[in-house]
Protein backbone atom coordinates (compact mmCIF):
# COMPACT_ATOMS: atom_id res chain seq x y z
CA UNK A 1 0.00 0.00 0.00
CA UNK A 2 1.14 3.54 -0.57
CA UNK A 3 -0.37 6.69 0.87
CA UNK A 4 -1.06 9.85 -1.13
CA UNK A 5 -1.75 13.13 0.66
CA UNK A 6 -4.66 15.06 -0.84
CA UNK A 7 -5.65 17.77 1.66
CA UNK A 8 -8.50 19.07 -0.48
CA UNK A 9 -11.75 20.65 0.71
CA UNK A 10 -14.69 18.50 -0.20
CA UNK A 11 -17.70 20.81 -0.27
CA UNK A 12 -15.64 23.08 -2.49
CA UNK A 13 -18.06 22.97 -5.44
CA UNK A 14 -20.85 24.22 -3.17
CA UNK A 15 -18.57 26.77 -1.55
CA UNK A 16 -17.58 28.22 -4.93
CA UNK A 17 -21.21 28.85 -5.80
CA UNK A 18 -21.84 30.22 -2.31
CA UNK A 19 -18.99 32.68 -2.78
CA UNK A 20 -20.36 33.73 -6.18
CA UNK A 21 -23.82 34.28 -4.67
CA UNK A 22 -22.34 36.27 -1.84
CA UNK A 23 -20.38 38.49 -4.27
CA UNK A 24 -23.47 38.94 -6.46
CA UNK A 25 -25.49 40.10 -3.43
CA UNK A 26 -22.75 42.29 -1.94
CA UNK A 27 -22.11 44.11 -5.22
CA UNK A 28 -25.81 44.99 -5.36
CA UNK A 29 -25.97 45.79 -1.63
CA UNK A 30 -28.75 43.28 -1.00
CA UNK A 31 -29.25 41.60 2.35
CA UNK A 32 -29.81 37.85 2.13
CA UNK A 33 -30.88 35.73 5.10
CA UNK A 34 -31.08 31.94 5.17
CA UNK A 35 -33.97 30.76 7.34
CA UNK A 36 -33.63 27.31 8.87
CA UNK A 37 -35.93 25.31 11.15
CA UNK A 38 -37.79 22.05 11.62
CA UNK A 39 -40.85 21.51 9.40
CA UNK A 40 -43.91 23.27 10.79
CA UNK A 41 -42.16 25.83 13.00
CA UNK A 42 -43.88 28.68 11.12
CA UNK A 43 -41.22 29.97 8.72
CA UNK A 44 -43.69 30.80 5.96
CA UNK A 45 -46.14 32.47 8.36
CA UNK A 46 -43.30 34.58 9.78
CA UNK A 47 -42.36 35.58 6.23
CA UNK A 48 -45.87 36.45 5.04
CA UNK A 49 -46.52 38.57 8.14
CA UNK A 50 -43.11 40.25 7.85
CA UNK A 51 -43.62 41.02 4.15
CA UNK A 52 -47.11 42.46 4.74
CA UNK A 53 -46.19 44.57 7.76
CA UNK A 54 -42.97 45.95 6.25
CA UNK A 55 -44.62 46.82 2.93
CA UNK A 56 -43.57 50.33 1.93
CA UNK A 57 -40.43 50.16 4.07
CA UNK A 58 -38.47 47.12 2.90
CA UNK A 59 -38.97 45.31 -0.41
CA UNK A 60 -38.63 41.60 0.23
CA UNK A 61 -38.16 38.70 -2.20
CA UNK A 62 -38.24 35.04 -1.26
CA UNK A 63 -36.53 31.86 -2.44
CA UNK A 64 -38.63 28.93 -1.25
CA UNK A 65 -37.02 25.53 -0.72
CA UNK A 66 -39.20 22.47 -0.36
CA UNK A 67 -38.83 18.82 -1.18
CA UNK A 68 -42.09 18.88 -3.16
CA UNK A 69 -44.93 21.29 -4.09
CA UNK A 70 -45.14 25.05 -4.51
CA UNK A 71 -47.62 25.50 -1.65
CA UNK A 72 -45.30 27.85 0.25
CA UNK A 73 -44.54 29.90 -2.87
CA UNK A 74 -48.30 30.27 -3.31
CA UNK A 75 -48.60 31.71 0.21
CA UNK A 76 -45.78 34.18 -0.48
CA UNK A 77 -47.27 35.09 -3.88
CA UNK A 78 -50.51 36.07 -2.12
CA UNK A 79 -48.53 38.90 -0.44
CA UNK A 80 -47.48 40.07 -3.95
CA UNK A 81 -43.81 39.64 -3.04
CA UNK A 82 -41.61 38.11 -5.77
CA UNK A 83 -40.94 34.44 -5.06
CA UNK A 84 -39.05 31.59 -6.70
CA UNK A 85 -39.80 28.02 -5.67
CA UNK A 86 -37.07 25.37 -5.65
CA UNK A 87 -38.11 21.73 -5.34
CA UNK A 88 -35.21 19.63 -4.11
CA UNK A 89 -36.93 16.35 -5.14
CA UNK A 90 -35.91 14.56 -1.97
CA UNK A 91 -32.73 16.40 -0.98
CA UNK A 92 -32.77 17.57 2.65
CA UNK A 93 -31.13 20.97 2.08
CA UNK A 94 -30.78 23.72 -0.50
CA UNK A 95 -27.44 23.96 -2.27
CA UNK A 96 -25.71 27.13 -3.45
CA UNK A 97 -26.08 26.29 -7.15
CA UNK A 98 -29.87 26.09 -6.75
CA UNK A 99 -29.91 29.46 -5.02
CA UNK A 100 -27.73 30.91 -7.77
CA UNK A 101 -30.34 29.95 -10.37
CA UNK A 102 -33.16 31.32 -8.22
CA UNK A 103 -31.38 34.66 -7.67
CA UNK A 104 -31.31 35.15 -11.44
CA UNK A 105 -35.08 34.75 -11.59
CA UNK A 106 -35.82 37.35 -8.89
CA UNK A 107 -36.17 41.05 -9.84
CA UNK A 108 -33.11 41.68 -7.71
CA UNK A 109 -32.76 45.37 -8.60
CA UNK A 110 -36.00 46.38 -6.87
CA UNK A 111 -35.44 44.31 -3.71
CA UNK A 112 -33.78 45.24 -0.39
CA UNK A 113 -33.91 41.87 1.30
CA UNK A 114 -33.97 38.29 0.06
CA UNK A 115 -35.10 35.53 2.39
CA UNK A 116 -34.14 31.98 1.58
CA UNK A 117 -36.62 29.65 3.26
CA UNK A 118 -34.62 26.44 3.49
CA UNK A 119 -36.05 22.91 3.49
CA UNK A 120 -37.63 22.15 6.89
CA UNK A 121 -34.75 20.41 8.66
CA UNK A 122 -32.76 21.47 11.69
CA UNK A 123 -29.60 19.53 10.79
CA UNK A 124 -28.44 19.32 7.17
CA UNK A 125 -29.05 22.89 5.92
CA UNK A 126 -26.67 24.20 8.59
CA UNK A 127 -23.72 22.58 6.77
CA UNK A 128 -24.38 24.13 3.34
CA UNK A 129 -23.47 27.78 2.85
CA UNK A 130 -25.64 29.47 0.23
CA UNK A 131 -23.95 32.86 0.04
CA UNK A 132 -26.22 34.45 2.65
CA UNK A 133 -25.15 37.24 4.99
CA UNK A 134 -26.55 35.32 7.94
CA UNK A 135 -28.63 32.40 9.11
CA UNK A 136 -31.89 32.78 11.03
CA UNK A 137 -33.03 29.80 13.08
CA UNK A 138 -36.70 29.40 13.99
CA UNK A 139 -37.83 27.24 16.89
CA UNK A 140 -41.50 26.94 17.82
CA UNK A 141 -42.49 26.32 21.41
CA UNK A 142 -44.36 23.12 20.54
CA UNK A 143 -41.02 21.53 19.60
CA UNK A 144 -39.63 21.80 23.14
CA UNK A 145 -37.05 23.98 24.88
CA UNK A 146 -34.30 21.36 24.62
CA UNK A 147 -33.65 21.93 20.90
CA UNK A 148 -30.63 24.28 21.27
CA UNK A 149 -28.90 21.57 23.31
CA UNK A 150 -29.95 18.73 21.02
CA UNK A 151 -29.23 20.46 17.70
CA UNK A 152 -26.38 22.81 18.66
CA UNK A 153 -24.79 23.44 15.24
CA UNK A 154 -27.51 25.66 13.81
CA UNK A 155 -27.87 27.68 17.04
CA UNK A 156 -24.11 28.19 17.19
CA UNK A 157 -24.02 29.47 13.60
CA UNK A 158 -27.10 31.72 13.46
CA UNK A 159 -27.28 35.50 13.72
CA UNK A 160 -30.80 35.42 15.15
CA UNK A 161 -33.22 33.01 16.79
CA UNK A 162 -36.97 33.45 16.47
CA UNK A 163 -38.87 31.53 19.15
CA UNK A 164 -42.26 31.26 17.45
CA UNK A 165 -45.81 30.41 18.56
CA UNK A 166 -45.40 32.03 21.98
CA UNK A 167 -49.18 32.51 22.03
CA UNK A 168 -49.32 28.78 22.82
CA UNK A 169 -47.45 29.39 26.09
CA UNK A 170 -50.62 30.94 27.47
CA UNK A 171 -52.39 27.62 27.13
CA UNK A 172 -51.07 26.61 30.55
CA UNK A 173 -50.37 22.92 30.90
CA UNK A 174 -50.60 22.34 27.15
CA UNK A 175 -47.06 23.25 26.14
CA UNK A 176 -44.03 22.60 28.37
CA UNK A 177 -41.56 25.17 27.18
CA UNK A 178 -39.28 27.27 29.37
CA UNK A 179 -38.43 30.41 27.40
CA UNK A 180 -35.54 31.23 29.74
CA UNK A 181 -34.00 27.78 29.34
CA UNK A 182 -34.12 27.93 25.53
CA UNK A 183 -32.62 31.43 25.55
CA UNK A 184 -29.87 30.53 28.02
CA UNK A 185 -28.92 27.36 26.12
CA UNK A 186 -28.77 29.22 22.80
CA UNK A 187 -26.65 32.00 24.33
CA UNK A 188 -24.28 29.45 25.87
CA UNK A 189 -23.43 28.36 22.32
CA UNK A 190 -23.57 31.78 20.75
CA UNK A 191 -23.17 34.95 22.83
CA UNK A 192 -23.99 37.19 19.87
CA UNK A 193 -27.27 35.57 18.85
CA UNK A 194 -30.27 37.94 18.82
CA UNK A 195 -33.34 36.27 20.28
CA UNK A 196 -36.89 37.29 19.37
CA UNK A 197 -39.79 35.50 21.10
CA UNK A 198 -42.68 36.01 18.67
CA UNK A 199 -46.07 34.86 17.58
CA UNK A 200 -46.35 35.20 13.82
CA UNK A 201 -50.03 34.39 14.26
CA UNK A 202 -50.97 37.19 16.69
CA UNK A 203 -48.10 39.55 15.85
CA UNK A 204 -46.76 39.60 19.42
CA UNK A 205 -43.03 40.41 19.59
CA UNK A 206 -42.72 40.96 15.84
CA UNK A 207 -41.83 44.67 16.15
CA UNK A 208 -38.41 43.92 17.66
CA UNK A 209 -37.71 41.51 14.79
CA UNK A 210 -38.74 44.17 12.25
CA UNK A 211 -36.50 46.77 13.91
CA UNK A 212 -33.55 44.37 13.72
CA UNK A 213 -34.24 43.70 10.02
CA UNK A 214 -34.59 47.43 9.28
CA UNK A 215 -31.27 48.09 11.01
CA UNK A 216 -29.54 45.44 8.90
CA UNK A 217 -31.07 46.69 5.64
CA UNK A 218 -30.30 50.35 6.42
CA UNK A 219 -26.66 49.46 7.07
CA UNK A 220 -26.41 48.39 3.43
CA UNK A 221 -28.26 51.34 1.92
Amino acid sequence: MHKVSIGRKILSANEEYALQNSQFLNERKKLCLNMISSPGSGKTTILTRTINELKGEIKIGVIEGDIQTDLDAGRIRATEAPVVQINTEGACHLSAVQVSGALEKLPIGVLDLIFIENVGNLVCPSAFELGEAGKIVVLSVAEGDDKPVKYPAIFAKSKALLINKIDLLEAVGQVDFCLERAKADARKLNKDIEIFPVSAKTGEGMTDWYDWLKGKVNNLR
Binding site: M1, H2, K3, V4, S5, I6, G7, R8, K9, I10, L11, S12, A13, N14, A91, C92, H93, S95, V123, C124, S126, A127, F128, V149, P152, A153, A156, K157, K188, L189, N190, K191, D192
Partner: protein
Amino acid sequence: MHEMAVAQSILTTISAEAEKQNAKPVIARISCGKLYAINAEALGFAFEAIAKGTTCEGTKLVVEHKPIRGQCRNCGEIFEFELTSPACPKCGSEDFGLLPDEPLILEDIEFLTE
Protein backbone atom coordinates in the same frame (compact mmCIF):
# COMPACT_ATOMS: atom_id res chain seq x y z
CA MET B 1 -29.09 12.35 4.50
CA HIS B 2 -27.05 15.21 3.00
CA GLU B 3 -24.20 12.71 3.33
CA MET B 4 -25.19 11.52 -0.17
CA ALA B 5 -24.18 14.87 -1.67
CA VAL B 6 -20.91 14.78 0.25
CA ALA B 7 -20.27 11.16 -0.75
CA GLN B 8 -20.67 12.13 -4.41
CA SER B 9 -17.99 14.84 -4.08
CA ILE B 10 -15.66 12.42 -2.29
CA LEU B 11 -16.20 9.77 -4.97
CA THR B 12 -15.36 12.25 -7.73
CA THR B 13 -12.16 13.34 -6.00
CA ILE B 14 -10.97 9.82 -5.13
CA SER B 15 -11.78 8.49 -8.61
CA ALA B 16 -9.73 11.26 -10.24
CA GLU B 17 -6.80 10.53 -7.95
CA ALA B 18 -7.10 6.77 -8.56
CA GLU B 19 -6.89 7.36 -12.29
CA LYS B 20 -3.80 9.52 -11.80
CA GLN B 21 -2.16 6.87 -9.62
CA ASN B 22 -3.48 4.04 -11.76
CA ALA B 23 -4.10 2.10 -8.55
CA LYS B 24 -6.98 0.79 -6.48
CA PRO B 25 -7.92 3.04 -3.51
CA VAL B 26 -8.24 1.03 -0.29
CA ILE B 27 -8.73 3.57 2.51
CA ALA B 28 -9.62 7.27 2.29
CA ARG B 29 -9.38 9.54 5.33
CA ILE B 30 -11.80 12.44 5.75
CA SER B 31 -11.71 15.08 8.46
CA CYS B 32 -14.25 17.74 9.37
CA GLY B 33 -15.38 19.96 12.23
CA LYS B 34 -18.11 18.65 14.51
CA LEU B 35 -20.53 21.33 13.34
CA TYR B 36 -20.52 19.91 9.82
CA ALA B 37 -23.15 17.38 10.84
CA ILE B 38 -21.48 14.51 9.03
CA ASN B 39 -22.41 11.12 10.38
CA ALA B 40 -19.67 8.60 9.62
CA GLU B 41 -22.04 5.66 9.30
CA ALA B 42 -24.43 7.48 6.95
CA LEU B 43 -21.52 8.76 4.87
CA GLY B 44 -20.02 5.28 4.63
CA PHE B 45 -23.37 3.81 3.60
CA ALA B 46 -23.97 6.47 0.94
CA PHE B 47 -20.45 6.12 -0.39
CA GLU B 48 -20.71 2.34 -0.61
CA ALA B 49 -23.96 2.64 -2.54
CA ILE B 50 -22.70 5.07 -5.17
CA ALA B 51 -19.23 3.52 -5.45
CA LYS B 52 -20.64 0.20 -6.72
CA GLY B 53 -19.25 -0.60 -10.13
CA THR B 54 -16.61 2.14 -9.94
CA THR B 55 -12.92 1.98 -9.09
CA CYS B 56 -13.93 2.97 -5.53
CA GLU B 57 -16.07 -0.11 -4.92
CA GLY B 58 -14.92 -1.50 -1.57
CA THR B 59 -12.88 1.59 -0.62
CA LYS B 60 -13.18 2.23 3.12
CA LEU B 61 -13.89 5.75 4.39
CA VAL B 62 -12.49 6.82 7.75
CA VAL B 63 -13.97 9.99 9.27
CA GLU B 64 -12.17 12.05 11.90
CA HIS B 65 -14.17 14.79 13.66
CA LYS B 66 -12.15 17.85 14.70
CA PRO B 67 -13.24 19.54 17.93
CA ILE B 68 -15.10 22.85 17.99
CA ARG B 69 -12.93 25.78 19.09
CA GLY B 70 -13.80 29.02 20.79
CA GLN B 71 -11.81 32.11 21.71
CA CYS B 72 -12.32 33.68 25.13
CA ARG B 73 -13.28 37.37 25.03
CA ASN B 74 -11.94 37.87 28.54
CA CYS B 75 -8.40 36.44 28.30
CA GLY B 76 -8.01 35.60 24.59
CA GLU B 77 -7.42 31.88 25.19
CA ILE B 78 -8.29 29.62 22.24
CA PHE B 79 -9.77 26.37 23.44
CA GLU B 80 -11.68 23.26 22.41
CA PHE B 81 -15.08 22.99 23.95
CA GLU B 82 -17.93 20.63 24.53
CA LEU B 83 -21.33 21.91 23.43
CA THR B 84 -22.88 20.86 26.73
CA SER B 85 -20.91 23.13 29.07
CA PRO B 86 -18.71 25.56 27.18
CA ALA B 87 -16.48 27.84 29.26
CA CYS B 88 -12.89 29.10 29.03
CA PRO B 89 -10.60 26.55 30.75
CA LYS B 90 -8.11 29.28 31.68
CA CYS B 91 -10.25 32.00 33.29
CA GLY B 92 -13.66 30.33 33.52
CA SER B 93 -15.41 33.04 31.49
CA GLU B 94 -18.48 31.98 29.53
CA ASP B 95 -18.07 34.89 27.13
CA PHE B 96 -16.38 33.62 23.99
CA GLY B 97 -16.73 33.64 20.23
CA LEU B 98 -17.02 30.52 18.14
CA LEU B 99 -14.15 30.03 15.69
CA PRO B 100 -15.03 28.82 12.18
CA ASP B 101 -15.63 25.10 11.96
CA GLU B 102 -12.87 23.01 10.41
CA PRO B 103 -13.75 22.40 6.75
CA LEU B 104 -14.48 19.01 5.30
CA ILE B 105 -11.16 17.73 3.97
CA LEU B 106 -10.08 14.64 2.08
CA GLU B 107 -6.80 14.12 3.94
CA ASP B 108 -5.20 11.18 2.23
CA ILE B 109 -5.82 7.98 0.30
CA GLU B 110 -4.03 4.67 0.62
CA PHE B 111 -3.68 2.79 -2.64
CA LEU B 112 -2.99 -0.87 -3.27
CA THR B 113 0.54 -1.22 -4.60
CA GLU B 114 0.89 -3.76 -7.37
